[in-house]
């Protein structure tokens, strides 16, 4: 046991028992961040803040929510919205944060792609981040279902039906997931469990892992310069803070982050107070009806691009059913970003504007995903169906074919 002496204060008392100074050093003061980074690097801390908002507002909502098909709709739209003091605030904050967190996740992802932050040594940061994206999608979807409105119900019907496309076990698997022949009470209660218990635990563990995965290769920077973090840190600690290329996470970097969080929170509460309806689909204020599909169903905006890839293939090609092509394309769209560090096999770690072909590729990908998002919301008829088809093809080609070709060309050009 360590030598314990009489403490001269609370911090000292804790330090002797829990080594809080050492812990604070490892986590904050001696965790080094490059100086040359821009506001896009603040997205991680904004995401952490948003997750905390979701967690706390979720706790408040779950005190009044009732996971029962007969009671769920009223417990949300009557009890929480009208009776509970500030219930409307927690619901709007929860709904808006759930939507906006995806906007920030996408910015965070595309920042990583633009600056090559997924490459050489940083693969685990990228993979754990993508894992978070997938689990967040499951979390968002399971939560979307809970108010048991028309859109919730039919979203659940369609998404659970997707598993029916898996060969051999599909139809039985759908019934197993639902716990019934159609989406109903057992489905609601098990999605409730996933949303409030299992998935949050999984998310918190992966967040911890995502943070840990940054510690060894360290954060990338705006010019993708390879820094000797030990050397730069020594310079900083020796007092040469001006010439050192790094700053400590606390207080240096976080103070900048706090400013961005403040700016972001102004935007966030503007949405919560004045524009909350964008996260509240009007159709979801009709109670779920198993015998009537709404005339036009679509997911929340952040799933539209992959939804459009799913339905983009609307005719059979070479004897393969359109349904199966769409499902396979959708499956690829879900996992393809995981493989990015291996699809981009160029060893150059540079921001996109210093890799001409990759730069063009990046912007075409971004525009294509915006096109998919827009057309995912429009009815899939006439010319819309064709735009969706070509945009889906472009998406698959960009990632599966063009990116590997670009990086092979880069490698040859470099030699």
């Amino acid at each position: 046991m360590a030598h314990i002496r009489k403490a001269n204060g609370l911090i000292d008392w804790l330090d002797q028992r829990l080594a809080v100074h050492k812990l604070f050093d490892v986590l904050m003061v001696k965790y080094w961040i490059p100086k040359q980074i821009n506001f896009l690097w603040a997205m991680g801390v904004i995401l952490t803040t948003l997750f905390a908002v979701l967690f706390v507002t979720g706790l408040l909502l779950v005190m009044y929510y009732k996971p029962d098909t007969a009671l769920a709709f009223d417990s949300v739209n009557k009890t929480i919205m009208q009776e509970v003091d500030y219930g409307w605030l927690w619901r709007h904050m929860h709904g808006v944060a759930a939507s906006v967190i995806f906007l920030i996740i996408y910015i965070h992802m595309f920042t990583g792609i633009y600056y090559g932050s997924y490459k050489r040594g940083r693969e685990m940061i990228w993979v754990s981040g993508m894992l978070l994206f997938v689990v967040f999608s499951a979390e968002a979807f399971s939560g979307y279902m809970l108010p048991w409105g028309q859109m919730s119900y039919w979203a659940a019907q369609v998404i659970t039906n997707l598993f029916g496309g898996i060969p051999f076990i599909g139809p039985e698997l759908v019934i197993w997931i639902r716990g019934d022949y159609a989406v109903s009470d057992p489905t609601l209660t098990r999605f409730f469990m996933l949303h409030v218990c299992l998935l949050p635990i999984v998310i918190i563990s992966i967040i911890a892992f995502h943070f840990y995965s940054l510690r060894i290769p360290h954060v990338n920077n705006e010019i993708s310069e390879e820094l000797d973090f030990d050397l730069e840190a020594e310079k900083y600690m020796a007092g040469d803070t001006r010439n050192s290329k790094v700053i400590p996470f606390w207080p240096g970097f976080l103070s900048k982050d706090f400013m961005y969080i403040c700016l972001f929170m102004i935007f966030f509460f503007y949405l919560v107070c004045f524009k909350f309806e964008f996260a509240m689909d009007p159709i979801n204020f009709d109670p779920a009806d198993a015998l009537k599909t709404p005339p036009h169903i679509y997911p929340e905006w952040y799933f539209l691009w992959s939804y459009e890839v799913l339905r983009g293939f609307f005719f059979d090609i070479g004897g393969i059913k359109a349904f199966n092509i769409g499902l396979a394309a959708f499956g690829i769209a879900q996992v393809i970003f995981f493989l990015l560090p291996w699809l981009d096999r160029s060893e150059v770690v540079k921001p996109a504007h210093e890799r001409p072909l990759f730069f063009i590729w990046f912007w075409i990908l971004l525009i294509d995903m915006i096109v998919l998002t827009i057309y995912g919301k429009l009815p899939p008829t006439g010319v819309n169906a064709w735009v969706g088809f070509y945009a889906s093809i472009v998406f698959l080609l960009l990632l599966l074919v063009i990116l590997p070709i670009i990086t092979i060309m880069e490698r040859k050009g470099a030699k």
């Binding site: 019907q157 997931i177 716990g179 022949y181 599909t293 036009h296 339905r311 359109a322 349904f323 009815p379």
Partner: protein
């Protein structure tokens, strides 16, 4: 020393086996916990009397929490000997009203005589056959039995067995 090493590996293997057996049993139990409950499985039969239906009329009823479309064909609609349910000399289209793509309910447009699914644009004709869009197969026909002018859903009658054998 050799003896104690082998004893240790024996203990390791023995413990591993016990843990694996326990693991398999708990996975089976967990799988079954997610299965539909007996009360859900025991969903009953639904009987519909078709005698009051007009030619060209579409009726939607509920069976095992799914919508069932019953369309009495009129003279303008093409007959389909493989899929029509003939009751009292009239041809009916009896299908589960869930799009075979992803399970939305298609809406019937009487003027165009098609079932159209708004979700992904799938279309079906009056016999329930897919004519446009991503649905991979015609609308499914539920198990049925004919009793006079009544249709019993959930029971496989001789007409249904004949139909599935031909398909």
């Amino acid at each position: 020393m050799a003896t104690s090493e082998s004893r240790r590996s024996f203990m390791g293997v023995a413990f591993g086996t016990v843990a694996a057996v326990g693991g398999v049993f708990s996975l089976v139990a967990m799988k079954k916990t997610w299965d539909p409950l007996p009360s859900v499985k025991a969903a009953g039969f639904t009987t519909v009397d078709l005698s009051g239906m007009q030619a060209g009329e579409l009726r939607t009823i509920e069976w095992r929490k799914k919508p069932i479309f019953i369309l009495k064909k009129d003279a303008s609609m093409a007959k389909d000997p493989k899929r029509d349910v003939v009751v009292d000399n009239a041809a009916y289209t009896v299908v589960i009203g869930l799009c075979t793509h992803l399970g939305c309910i298609p809406a019937y447009h009487p003027s165009e005589q098609i079932f159209k699914c708004a979700c992904h644009g799938g279309e079906f004709d009056t016999s329930g056959k897919n004519i446009f869009g991503p649905p991979p197969r015609p609308l499914d026909i539920p198990p049925f039995k004919i009793e006079g002018t009544k249709l019993v859903l959930g029971e496989e009658g001789p007409e249904y067995k004949k139909m599935t054998k031909e398909a």
